[in-house]
């Protein structure tokens, strides 16, 4: 008898269930790419058979952090850059939950970069969506880790002297087993990629290009976009690390020139997830740990039985 009966419930799911009934209404600007992420999640979740109460959406701080205010699931709006450590612990505590982490490029690639690297390295079975608008939005338009070199802002008045970070290549090197890029302007592809990411057993990183019409007016709206799987110009094997790495490198290079490449870049279905690795060394309980606290028959070990070594 589970204490978490929302999990695994078999029923018809309407995408409206993920929309909060009365309020809050999104505070994102008109034309913001964040709406695209929200929409693709609302479409993807029913299609993968997940109900609002078996999903935990963990966000950071920024415009993107408000995702779970407008997506009706269990939500944890954490602090700047820390969505991943909160999310992966929730998954370890109750692996039956569908855990989705989300944040912006400043949140994930800047202040939370260390957590991103290590969560990818460990291959936790969670989905990580980064709203990448190449700018700090909520704080009004400062240069971010993905802003192009030369980007001018109030904090970089002479133009940024820094080369932008390479999110896809970084994630691959760190150990992510699913890496994709999509764009808000490409809703069909976005939905499909989000579905794949959720269903992937391991760390699935989606770099989601979300245009910022308010603070990044100079930047393109990420159109026209090219799907590297659809286009005849690109041919590479998403299961081959080397080919994936080359394709990622090219994608990151050409974005600076205004060419928007999207699609799946790396998919490794063979790599065990972190929970599986942890179980293999005998350090992961068989049953979800969270269930045990509701199990009246559970036997709780006590320190009295450990005292032999001290007498």
């Amino acid at each position: 008898m589970s204490a978490f009966n929302a999990i695994g419930e078999e029923r018809e799911i309407d995408r409206d269930e993920f929309t909060p009934g009365v309020e809050p209404q999104p505070t994102w600007c008109p034309g913001c790419g964040d709406f695209g992420v929200l929409k693709s999640l609302k479409q993807a979740l029913p299609e993968v058979g997940r109900t609002p109460e078996e999903v935990l959406t963990v966000t950071g701080i920024g415009c993107s952090g408000k995702l779970n205010s407008y997506l009706d699931t269990y939500g944890f709006h954490t602090i700047h850059g820390r969505s991943l450590p909160v999310a992966r612990a929730a998954k370890l505590a109750n692996p039956e939950l569908e855990v989705i982490a989300a944040g912006g490029d400043g949140d994930g690639y800047g202040i939370g970069g260390n957590h991103w690297i290590h969560t990818a390295r460990e291959n936790h079975d969670i989905t990580y969506i980064v709203f990448n608008n190449e700018i700090f939005g909520l704080t009004k338009g400062q240069t971010s880790p993905t802003s192009p070199k030369g980007h001018k802002s109030k904090t970089q008045p002479s133009g940024s002297a820094k080369t932008p970070l390479r999110p896809l290549s970084m994630s691959l090197n760190a150990g992510a087993s699913y890496v994709a890029r999509t764009a808000a302007v490409n809703p069909n592809q976005a939905k499909e990629i989000i579905k794949e990411a959720i269903e992937h057993d391991g760390f699935a990183h989606v770099d989601f290009l979300t245009q910022c019409p308010t603070w990044n007016k100079d930047a393109r709206q990420y159109v026209p976009y090219i799907d590297v799987q659809e286009s005849d110009d690109y041919d590479f094997d998403v299961t081959d690390r080397r080919e994936a790495a080359e394709m990622m490198h090219e994608t990151e290079d050409v974005l600076k020139e205004g060419t928007v490449l999207t699609g799946r870049y790396y998919v490794d279905d063979d790599r065990p997830s972190y929970q599986q690795e942890k179980a293999a060394v005998g350090e992961m309980p068989d049953e979800p740990l969270a269930e045990r606290y509701f199990d009246d028959d559970a036997e709780w070990e006590r320190s009295y039985d450990l005292l032999d070594r001290h007498t």
């Binding site: 929302a6 290590h118 740990l289 969270a290 606290y293 006590r302 320190s303 005292l307």
Partner: protein, 635 residues
Amino acid sequence: MSDDELIWRIAGGSGDGIDSTSQNFAKALMRSGLNVFTHRHYPSRIRGGHTYVEIRAADKDVQSRGDGYNFLLSLGDSFARNPQEEAYYGNEEIKPLSENLDELREGGIIVYDEGLISEEDVEAINLEERAEENDWHVFPMDLRGLAKEHGREVMRNTAGVGVTAALLDMELEHIEDLMSDAMSDDILEANLEILHEAYDTVNEEYDFEHDLRAPTGDHGAEQALLSGSNAIAYGAIDGGCRFIAGYPMTPWTDVFTILSQNFPDMGGVSEQVEDEIAAAALAVGASHAGVKAMSGSSGGGFALMSEPLGLAEMTETPLVLVESMRAGPSTGMPTKPEQGDLEFVLYTSQGDSSRVVFAPGNIEEAYEQTRLAFDIAWEYQIPTIIIYDQKLSGENMNVDVEFFDREPEPGLGSTMTEEELKEAAHDASGKFHRFQHEPDNDNHVSPRSLPGQKGGRYLATGNEHSPVGHISEDPDNRVFQMERRVQKLEAIRDELDEERPSNQTYFGEDDAEYGIITWGSSQGAVVEAVERLNEQGHSVRGISVSDMMPFPEQEMTEFLESVDEAMVVEMNATAQFRGLIQKELGRFGEKLTSLLKYNGNPFEPAEVVEGYEVNLEDGDREPTAQVRIEPAAGD
């Protein structure tokens, strides 16, 4: 001061097996019926360097290190670096002998390994002359040679224990038993041979002129020897904790290690992660999903936890953190104790503090208050912090085994079941009222749900939020939520005052003129000092405080009203606890003086006695110990 106690110090290089040898010898003394207390002194390096462990053993209660010590077993430093290059490193081999002499009591015993420490070096430190002056009994023994002859050189600590036992007229039985538990086959055989050979050699070759003998005693009940870190880890286990996340840092690593080693067999999860921000954030995430979780660190690592700690306060996520203090600021002295993080732990993170902080004063309190921390945290949905230090972390004391014979408490406090959620308040769209303005109870706690439960959906956020968790800046909602969080602390204070045994420890005379106040791990030395002062005819009452937040206003007021003056004893330079008393009570400033120590070593009882005497009797005199007296307000 008397020699009805043995204070045995084993000194050598880090890596010479000082820890394991002393642990076994302490157990042997405990098994022989004595009360024991250990004190560990070590440098922040892996090999070499001067390190010692001191074991105090007596028939009476021992809760602190003593004043000085009376038996030195100096192994010398076998990891001394490049002794040929004295220009760079000096002579390290002899340091475990030369650097320990100042605190050795008159009439004390010295055993040193002449197989490692050369005759010239011993002459160079004038040992003979000093021994004569202080009536020390010196026994140079070739421990290294003896060990080599029957086994391997590293077994010279066993030879040292054999010599110790002979000189103290101890039976070898308990020592042999402990060796048999820890070793087997050839190794055991060689060690036993070495033990006996050393024992017999001393008895055959020396006439004893010293008076010191091992004391005798009887416990009447089975004892366990354990450290503060053990006690905290065990309190967590019995409090139902099954998730820990951490990053290594001395001295907190001990608790992290003990739980990491035990959790796999208990179905628990331990995570070593990228940094302390992640460590505390993981504990928050696991707790949010329904598991009793903890994290911890020492000062520098705890600084990184400020953010997730604040998040736990705002989202009312139950959480236990431990902070094992060491001398600061910054990297400070990593292996030395200090009580300098009190204000930091009470207030770090933005906004008004909403947390519980306990500072256990000894091994039993460390267990008790860690259990309590899990109870309080899950009932009141509030982060609870155990603040202790390098001293309590590493010191070992014997405790009645029966003390631990208690049922575990894995309950999740004010967490709802799905059944209960059916009856709970929801908004029109079906979201659960996780943060009610006025919950239907006296303790201001709004019951929580867990992700995956039916009917419990809500948003947790570090922003100020409405009852269902939506971000809200509405003034009325803000005041409701803010006041409810603050009132939880008042409810906790009421529970601690009215429904639980006091966490404060009282000692000395009830009706005394003078008070001595301390907190945390300085308790043991102060208890002993107060006992001595009263024996000397003074009238002194002591209190060791554990409740740092919410502050025990009632108990402290009663205590301070009952005495004419009081001295606050703590290991820091700015009298942080005394400041807390004045802040919380708003009075008594003119009654309170401070005795402060911050040289990296914990208080010895005699230093507290002297502090009292200087303070009360002749304020013009400077204390001889490396301490500072801070006068009362207006003095």
